[in-house]
Amino acid sequence: MMNKFFDLRFVIGAFFLVVGILLLIYSFTNEEVMHAAVNRWSSITFIVFAIIMIILSFDKKPEDKL
């Protein structure tokens, strides 16, 4: 698992996954509907992007390692 952190795609994916999850959780605490929707849709976009990057990081090419 630690080796995955040497792939930039995994690092970028991990960053946006954590940000996406934080935003998603936070969106449920928003009292204003509009604010909640903005955070929720943004978080879903980030999580989808993160998953794509993490999946791509499993396509092993030696030159893609950090």
């Binding site: 952190f5 040497f6 930039l8 690092v11 970028i12 960053f15 946006f16 954590v18 940000v19 934080l22 935003l23 936070y26 969106s27 928003n30 204003e32 509009m34 604010h35 903005v38 955070n39 849709w41 943004s42 976009t45 980030f46 992007f49 090419k61 030159e63 893609d64 950090l66």
Partner: protein, 550 residues
């Protein structure tokens, strides 16, 4: 603007990741080449994104949004007339000489093609320019933090400088490049929702068309007369000044961006780097210019979107993006937007510091101070230069605080350095008879002419320190004109002196001059592996955009 815990958490997470990348890369850095040139071992998708991200610093992210509000769609000429064509030219025609000559920097190519004095002149002006530019990024970041978040100016400068120092010192150029890629995605994903929300609030495309003055929604209309378009420029200075001299001068000779292609695996990747980078570059106006146009429509329909005044009492267009972030983003995504801005400033600074340490170590220290030292010694010098570069940037940031016109001055410095340099490269790469003395004196004359033209003309109250022989409609128009004049002088002086001075033997110019270098035919039939095919796609899309948005 009031941030919540979630916003601070996202900003802190970003800081954690960028320093983490530096720590991960630390053990890979063993030689000066690893530290300063990434061992020429970076994959294509990373070099391509880093290529455009190196230009996605403070000036671009805040400045293009500001220009979007000030000049409207005309700002897109920086992309669809300037950058894209220059990037394609770099990939197809110039990169074989940069990469093929095995030069480690742009000044080093000048040494191989011409001589040591031309290289040293370029290395010194470039080093000064990078430190100046890095300091401006730091100053702008601290100002932004102070203005919109209420953070202390000094604390912002030192925290940002420390973080940039930490990851560039640990991982060198590779660390800077990898953070540029992270920054690219942050800016796109962090600002794109702002464009969407802004468009919705402004009433969609119909609302934009109805509320923004027509002159700001065209690319070419009104170009026949400077008084008829918001940029106050004419077709000649736009096409020749921006489209040819400034854009080609920046994208084809500025080591900060060219370095990103020079660290590719092989020549094919190096050639494809700027051309592939041109594809997302075509669409960047949607992220960086659109907010400027959107705010114009919002100002017509709602209150609270008025831009503040700067210290000179003029509209502060630089506040377009911060104002939209504060008005349209709720807490949470606001943290992402602020992080994207911080990332662009820090990345802009890191890019300049890494270009500075490469040029100083290879082109000044190794050449003039201590040649033939060990790899370990140059690695130590490279790391020490990184620390010095960051400290000088801090100093420049404080100097910048005393000058409210420093951003305009920076744009002028670019036109002083890059515009004549492009003439030197054009003649050096494509005319075998150009000589070392011709190049040196041409470069010196071009830079001097730029300074003289600035001192004899004025725009928006700036320039004219000797006399005011002509007043331009805008500072941008002044920069375009200075660029083509300094380019022309450098071109003519280099050509004339070359006729009367000794030229290098042709056998020393193989691999450095177009007519003396065997053509490398790219026979790859897979379209995305052939630079020419990708270039055609890029150019067709760009031409279509110019026609559609006429």
């Amino acid at each position: 603007m009031h941030l919540h815990l979630i916003d601070y958490a996202i900003i802190s997470l970003y800081f954690l990741f960028v320093i983490g990348i530096g720590f991960l890369l630390k053990k890979r850095v063993k030689t000066a080449d690893d530290f300063l040139m990434s061992g020429r071992n970076i994959p294509l998708w990373i070099t391509s994104l880093a290529f455009i991200s190196a230009n996605l610093g403070a000036q671009e992210v805040l400045g293009m949004a500001a220009n979007g509000a000030k000049y409207g769609l005309y700002t897109a000429h920086f992309y669809w007339l300037g950058a894209v064509f220059a990037m394609v030219f770099l990939g197809l025609f110039m990169m074989p000489f940069y990469y093929g000559s095995k030069a480690r920097s742009v000044p080093e190519y000048l040494k191989l093609r011409f001589d040591e004095k031309t290289r040293t002149f370029n290395a010194l002006t470039f080093a000064a320019m990078t430190i100046f530019s890095s300091g401006i990024s730091l100053y702008a970041l601290a100002m932004l933090m102070q203005t919109i978040l209420g953070w202390d100016f000094n604390l912002s400068i030192w925290i940002a400088a420390f973080i940039v120092l930490a990851y560039t010192f640990l991982g060198g150029l590779t660390s800077a490049v990898y953070n540029e890629v992270l920054q690219f995605f942050l800016i796109v994903l962090g600002i794109a929702p702002l464009v969407y929300i802004g468009m919705q609030q402004a009433g969609g495309l119909h609302g934009i068309l109805a509320n923004v003055e027509g002159a700001k929604l065209h690319l070419w209309k009104g170009m026949s007369n400077p008084a008829d378009n918001p940029m106050g420029t004419d077709a000649f200075s736009m096409i020749f000044g921006l489209g040819f001299v400034l854009a080609f001068g920046y994208w084809c000779t500025d080591f900060l961006v060219v370095q990103r292609a020079m660290i590719s695996h092989n020549l094919n990747d190096a050639r494809r780097t700027p051309i592939i980078a041109a594809l997302p570059k075509i669409f960047m106006p949607l992220i960086v210019i659109a907010p400027g146009i959107i705010i114009l429509a919002l100002q017509k329909q709602f209150s609270g979107f008025e831009l503040p005044l700067n210290v000179n009492g003029q509209t502060d267009y630089n506040m377009v993006l911060p104002l939209l972030l504060s008005k349209l983003y709720p807490s949470g995504i606001l943290g992402v937007g602020i992080t994207a801005l911080i990332a662009s400033f820090m990345s802009g600074m890191a890019g300049n510091v890494t270009a500075f340490n490469t040029v100083f170590t290879f082109d000044i220290y190794q050449t003039h101070i201590k040649p033939n030292a060990s790899e370990k010694h140059y690695l130590t010098v490279g790391k020490a230069t990184t620390v010095v570069g960051v400290l000088l940037s801090i100093l420049t940031a404080y100097v910048a605080r005393g000058f409210n016109s420093i951003m305009d001055l920076l744009q002028l410095v670019f036109s002083f350095v890059n515009a004549p340099l492009f003439a030197t490269f054009l003649l050096g790469m494509f005319w075998k008879k150009s000589t070392s003395n011709g190049a040196f004196w041409g470069l010196l004359s071009g830079t001097g002419t730029a300074a003289l033209t600035y001192s004899l003309t004025m725009a928006e109250g700036k320039g004219g320190s000797i006399a005011n022989l002509h007043t331009f409609y805008s500072g941008t128009s002044q920069a375009f004109n200075i660029a083509w004049i300094s380019f022309s002088v450098c071109f003519i002086i280099t050509t004339v002196i070359s006729f009367f001075t000794e030229k290098k033997p042709e056998n020393q110019l193989v691999g450095l001059v177009y007519s003396l270098t065997p053509r490398q035919q790219d026979k790859n039939r897979i379209w995305y592996k052939n630079p020419l095919y990708i270039a055609i796609i890029v150019l067709v899309i760009t031409l279509l955009l110019n026609i559609l948005l006429y």
